[in-house]
Subunit: 189 residues, 3 copies
């Protein structure tokens, strides 16, 4: 059982995931939270292509694709043994445009059962990003954030054609965390 | 020749279809109207999985997928002998998210020539749904209806990549039935 | 290296392309600008299916698909020898609906590396179209133009799943030509 969890930076995706998995764990439902970026970074480091996390964004698209595919293979292996919630990106914003998080060769490898999109209002995302001082972020404007979320919806629908997965949109605007967590728990139960 | 006709509940899709097929029949153009849900219900009943139509929405996604695939095979057989207008759903709204009406294995089986989306204003759809007392419906709010129609547009475009079909959007707001019927007739002629 | 350049009539796509390629050429970066429509017209003429460019829009969808595929093969051959910027349509508006510019069999043939969408405001596009007297154009209204651009974004995201290409959106509203040109140059560098 592989559930994919996506959401652009600032949607609160990881907070929702951690809270939902904690509550589910208390109820005896175990998922391992695997972060695609961590697996990619491990592989990229081992290949000597990156030194820190921000280097990942600066990779050439060919290098990104190679690491992305190798990470897909590794996650597929993990998913054969346990239920996984895969924290990742629907698309990756690069200087050359949006790169699909799940090109065909990754999609067919992983074959997710449910694809979750966590979304928030573009204005809130912009605000959350600017007040987050813990890592460097792109200065997308609000229009760019809206576009990114819309494109993610589009491509998620396409992903579902390949794997037959459902696409679940979970809204996580300010003050709705409990409901977003409840919705993710329902998806995972 | 297989033309797929989709539209979420409340768009008036079936009304448009019946009127267009009636008028075309008078002009000597014959299409058989096949309802995917009917074929799926027949198969589900035969398999002992459902008793009435509303049970179909409550099926686990694995069961839904199996029935969906078997229905695709059956419709493909019918389409070898006559022209079919296939009344179905672009995506199906389930508790786990939107399920594609045409995952790859159904799409490649059927290979539609034209994919029609009948749409109406979300507010009108909401109104039509609430005043329709003949069957139980989900209480989607207007935003949810808008989202569902937008996602259907997205996934329909993706379907066209696999089959090379055209995607035709027919608007059917209040008071525009004659024109919607004329547009569907043009598509089928 | 194959970069696809799309944009509906009136976005100024070709102007942006010519200016970007001219400046890049001065910097020693050479791309050949190939127009899909030209290749299709050559093939259609040779097959005796069309006499002038406007006939191309009136072809039956089967004929269009055949010519489209043959053009894909030819462009694939050219791309093996040089870097190409392929000027084409993301989708083609026909009486039977939107036809994908890159159905699976063309997409797998060409496998573009970057897919560019040049966009402009629907109102401006409408204005540009009506004041352009050099060729016959469809009288899409502004809503239709907006829809066409949105559907193109959707399908471009789907294309990226097949080829792993990035999707780059370049906005070219009135007065922003220099920036649009700079963005295209960055994509091609």
């Amino acid at each position: 059982m592989l559930v994919v969890l996506t959401g652009i930076p600032g949607t609160g995706k990881t907070t929702v995931a951690n809270k939902a998995l904690g509550e589910l764990s208390d109820e005896g439902i175990k998922y391992e939270l695997v972060t695609y970026g961590d697996i990619m970074f491990d592989i990229g480091s081992n290949l000597g292509l990156v030194k820190d996390r921000d280097d990942m964004r600066k990779l050439k698209s060919d290098e990104q694709k190679k690491i992305q595919r190798l990470a897909g293979v590794k996650i597929g292996q993990i998913a054969e043994e346990k239920d996984i919630l895969l924290d990742t990106h629907c698309t990756i914003s690069t200087p050359k445009g949006f790169l699909p998080g799940f090109p065909e060769w990754v999609l067919r490898e992983l074959s997710p059962k449910i694809f979750v999109l966590v979304e928030a209002d573009p204005e809130e995302i912009d605000l959350r990003r600017s007040s987050d001082k813990t890592r460097k972020r792109d200065k997308d404007n609000i229009g760019g954030i809206r576009t990114h979320q819309e494109l993610n919806r589009s491509i998620a629908m396409s992903y579902s054609i390949f794997s037959g997965c459902t696409v679940k949109i979970i809204l996580n605007p300010q003050g709705r965390l409990e409901q977003a967590v409840a919705e993710l728990k329902e998806v995972l139960s």
